[in-house]
Each structure stands twice: as C-alpha cells, then as structure tokens.
Symmetry: C2
DNA sequence: CGCCTTAATGCAATTTATTTGCGTTAACGG
DNA sequence: CCGTTAACGCAAATAAATTGCATTAAGGCG
C-alpha cells in the first residue's frame, strides 16, 4: 500500500551503475575540474534531470562515486604477523591516498555538503580493515591492539598531511608512525574517551 | 613598464573586503547550502562577473573567506607553563573546529579544487601557534617539544574525527591526546622523516 | 500471470548561473 | 600630472539547474 519506499532493482540499478561508470570514466579522461552534470548524463545515456533528482548536485554525486571507489575490494594482506600486517596495510594506505587520484577522492568525499554519509563510509572501511587485522592477530595467539588508537596515531596524521598538503607521507614517515604506535602499545594505552557522534547542538 | 603585476590598493581592496564581508554575512544568515555567487555579489554591491573573474567560482571564494576567518586574531593564551599553554590551545582548537561553523570552514578550505593555498594557510596558522608556545616555553627555561609530533599526535586526530565525523572530540578525549603526547615526550621522540612536499609525479 | 499503485525516469519549458566582449574607471609608475 | 593597463561594470550570449507533466516500469497483491 503506502509502503513502497525506495526501489532498488532493474532500471533504477542500471542507471545508477551507468552514471557511476560514466563519472569514473570522465574523471579519468578529462579530470575533476572539467567535469559537470550534463556531461556525465550524456555519457551515461540519461537526462541531466535524472542525475539532479537522484544525487542533488555534482558534489554529492562525486562524493558517492568516490566513496564507492574507496571501498576495499579485498582484505588486507596476510603477512603472518600483526607487525607485518599493520605495516603492509598502512604503507599501502598512505601510498594510495597520497596519489593524485587518492587525494582527489578524499576531497570529494569530504566536500559533500548535505550529509556525512560518504565520509562515514570511508571511515568505517578503514576501521573494518584494522579490525580484520586485529582479529587475525588474536587468532594467531598474538596480542590485539586498540583500533581507535591505531586510527589516531597511524591513519589520522597521514590524512592530515595529505589533505592540508604540508608534507608528503613517505614510506619512512609511515614507518616512523608505526614505531610510535609500537612505543605506545603495551604501556597504558589511551582509551577511547569520547561520545559517539550524537546531536550536536551548537 | 611591463612590471605592473597585481594591484592591491584602493578600489580593488575595498571590493575584496566587501565581498568577504558579504559572504560572511550571508553564511551566517542563510547558510552555506543556500548561498551563491549572484547573491554575494548583490550584497557586496558588485557585479557577479567581478566575483567570477577574481575568485573563479564559489568554492574558491568560500575557501578564501574560510581561510581568512580561520586566521588567528591573537596569540595563544599564556598560562605560565608549557603544559598549560598546550592544554588551553588544543582544547580551544578542538572546541572551535568541532562546532558547526568550524567544521564548515574546514570543509570549505579543503574543497578548493584549483590550488592548496587555503589549506596550506590554515595549516601554517596552527604550526605558528605551536611555535609560539614552544618559544615561550624555551624562554621560561622549560624544555621545548617537536612541533611536527604535536601536529601528528594532537591536531591530526582531532581534524580526522571532525572531518570524517565518526566521533566527537570531547574535552576528555583531547586531554587523553595530551596525555599520550606527554607519554612520548622525553623518550626517543619520533623525528620528522619526510620530504617537504615537492613535485609529486603520479 | 495480470492488475494496480506509484517511484523513477524522460522530455521540454523555465529559471538561474556562468561566461564573454567591450567600453570605462582608477591604481601605479613615471 | 600623464600614460599605461589591471580591474571593473554592463549587457549579451551561453550553459547549467529546476520544474511541471506525461510516460515507464518496480514491486505488491490477488
């Protein structure tokens, strides 16, 4: 009856796929600066109004596409030890994100004005990977680690330097972050003291 | 002769000031989502084409205005000790940046597509404050600290959580970051191993 | 399977934003 | 004070975004 809600199958899904594909293709061909909605719509074989109605504007479409591209395709590499897994993951993370396209994706994800959906998705991808690595370590009988601390000490600095482009996260720098994380682990780790994001008043 | 370059005085400066003021006023009145270039131009008493020619587009204008607003108006508070100065500064930083407007400014700064000018400016404001605090500490005969490490451990996590909006940087959380920073200071601090951002090839 | 409801789309008209050419104003260096 | 030209205003032209209405096709139900 009145409970139709969102449609997901058939044409709707095909169009979403076509628009995503067209956007990615154009991003690669002409670059983010020279892209616009009518261009994407034409390439995808739909009318611009369809894109505007489904995504709102270019920024939200780009954020959606970027979040999709940042979705991991595989679990982090299993090197046989927590130490190795963490190093491999963070080194790869830094390399991918500091590339031209990685930085572009990151900025598109954050530029979304309407909601934080895309940014939250990316954030949880990273956490999920770290949790996978921790679960794997625990399965081996190794000690685990604090995911939140890993995000703070390893991931956050990398993102900061990429976004504000004051420094380049070289492998040496990433290794130094790992050394710092190791130095803090085993002592009294800083616990996660914060509310989960709720209604922010001001 | 051929060395006229950019004009800075008189009308040009007045217009820049008027446009900045109009943008800030409209941001406060109608919000970032409902703003556009013609609206700003009318409020500032100039034609839209002037704004487009000087700033390029709305995103770059907003980035410029946001960077301007994020420019510190005063030195960080002098509490009498490095410990207190650092705590006061980071607590205030987290509070200002995590507010609705602070988060908006941060995103506007990062949304700038053309260059990283605005982002770099903001970044250097923070470093400058930390340097002020360090110089003050050294003047008192206290030990200094590594600015880069402070950015990595104190500032970066706060920015990360604000931008990706997965957590709220509460005062308790900020204090825990300060505790972590203290734990690392005095031991073998991680040195700044990275090149300054140069030509990135890929 | 066929019918019904309605979300999602296409199309076209309208509105709004952006770009551009050209004449005018005024900053800056003699 | 004068000349040069960057920066601006104005208005026309182009392009993008919005919107009303007709059409298509998901998904639920008998």
């Amino acid at each position: 009856m009145a409970r139709e809600m969102i449609r997901q199958g058939g044409r709707s899904a095909r169009i979403q796929q076509a628009v995503h594909a067209a956007t990615q293709a154009l991003l690669a061909e002409v670059g983010r600066a020279a892209i616009n909605v009518p261009m994407i719509a034409e390439r995808a074989g739909v009318t611009p109004s369809t894109v505007y109605r489904r995504w709102g504007d270019l920024a939200q479409l780009l954020a959606d596409v970027a979040a999709e591209r940042l979705r991991p395709v595989a679990d982090p590499e299993d090197t046989g030890s927590l130490e190795g897994d963490l190093r491999a993951f963070v080194l790869q993370y830094a390399e991918e994100m500091s590339s031209k396209v990685g930085r572009g994706l990151m900025r598109d994800v954050l530029a979304e004005t309407g909601s934080d959906a895309a940014a939250s998705r990316c954030c949880s991808y990273t956490s999920a990977h770290l949790e996978t690595i921790r679960a794997r370590a625990l399965g081996r009988g190794e000690a685990g680690f604090d995911i939140d601390a890993a995000v703070d000490i390893l991931i956050a600095p990398i993102c900061y330097h990429i976004l504000f482009s004051d420094r380049d996260p070289t492998p040496e720098y990433v290794l130094s972050l790992l050394a710092r994380f190791r130095a803090l682990t085993g002592e009294s780790p800083v616990r996660a003291i914060h509310r989960k994001k709720s209604a922010r008043v001001a």
